[in-house]
Subunit: 204 residues, 2 copies
């Protein structure tokens, strides 16, 4: 029995460095993750290859995919559609490979709804834990600055609640190491491993 | 706010190599695990140090500890008591350090009852997954041998159900890497991390 792959969703507030962490992760050769390819209606840029960088679609095609629930998530941005085709994800998971999706928080919440069995990792800004020090030494910063930072922090912390793991992006290498550990651990989860062993005995 | 440590319990069928994996783990310098020291009524052997190898106790002291629920688990073996004092474990966890316990399955189940928030890792014999191949090529092995192996395997697989993770001990280094990944991942769990962030904001 082949083990199904895991859908790994990395998200977090904008500016936290999701793209940088994703690129660092995929620059490592031993990593056996598949990067999920997005579909888009925007025109290919110089050098972009259909099926590698994006799946380039016509608007009418994309709207058809929305209608037929063929996207794990989608959004319209500056007049163009962007989305994650469920077919590629499903096919890759069925082959026993993990699929990695780096995505904005709104998209991640759509994926969570469509695919709750995914592994949801929240990348947290290090400024969040620096906040404590800032507050402690508040005499040195204006009340307004602290207030704005606190409001943003509250929103960021509320976002976390829908995720399985929180990884602080204090250093890209640290964040990558933690994400790799989380994926390794996930493959050792009893709920994932035991059924395979049980299946084994059904042969008898 | 200091994060509490995690109680990590490594167990598995006898002969699976729990002790070897534990020794390999603790030979690594970067590892910040505390090994839980057992209490026993057996006499110290040459070179054994009280408080390092064991907490050496008189029978009456040990029985007092049992009576007062001061042991996470205990057993009597060849006329001597062995057990895990809850005080050392609790104190170490409160200091924010992880405690590692390598223990027989019966003891692990006692710990699970007393300390359900622990992290329970089952070390599985690689022979379990080799079993499939054996069955497939069954012509080459006697029915009896296969039957005995299957009965044992069924018991081992049933044991897994009380654990959070299953790590196959195919190679000691692999098992160690997986255990370290599981501990790293556990420290990134949202249920563990988010309350710290939330606590941070209560300052305001």
């Amino acid at each position: 029995m082949k083990e199904k792959g895991i859908l790994i969703v990395l998200s977090g507030p904008s500016g936290v460095g999701k793209g940088t962490v994703r690129k660092a992760l995929f620059s490592e050769e031993e990593l056996s993750l598949q990067y999920s390819i997005s579909a888009t209606t925007r025109k290919p840029r110089e050098g972009e290859v259909h099926g590698v960088d994006y799946l380039f679609k016509e608007r009418v095609e994309f709207e058809e995919m929305i209608k037929n629930d063929q996207l794990l998530e989608w959004a319209e941005y500056v007049g163009n559609y962007y989305g994650t085709p469920v077919e590629y994800v499903q096919k890759t998971l069925d082959e026993g490979k993990d699929v990695f999706l780096e995505i904005e928080v709104q998209g991640a919440m759509q994926v969570k709804k469509a695919f709750p069995e995914g592994l949801f990792i929240f990348l947290a800004p290090p400024s969040l834990s620096e906040l404590r020090n800032r507050i402690v030494t508040r005499g040195t910063e204006s009340e307004d600055l602290i207030h704005n930072r606190l409001t943003a922090a509250k929103e960021e912390i509320e976002m976390m609640d829908s995720y399985d793991y929180v990884v602080e992006n204090d250093k890209v290498e640290h964040a990558c190491d933690k994400i790799k550990a989380i994926v390794t651990a996930e493959h050792c989860k009893r709920s994932r491993v035991a059924p395979r062993y049980k299946k084994l005995l059904e042969v008898e």
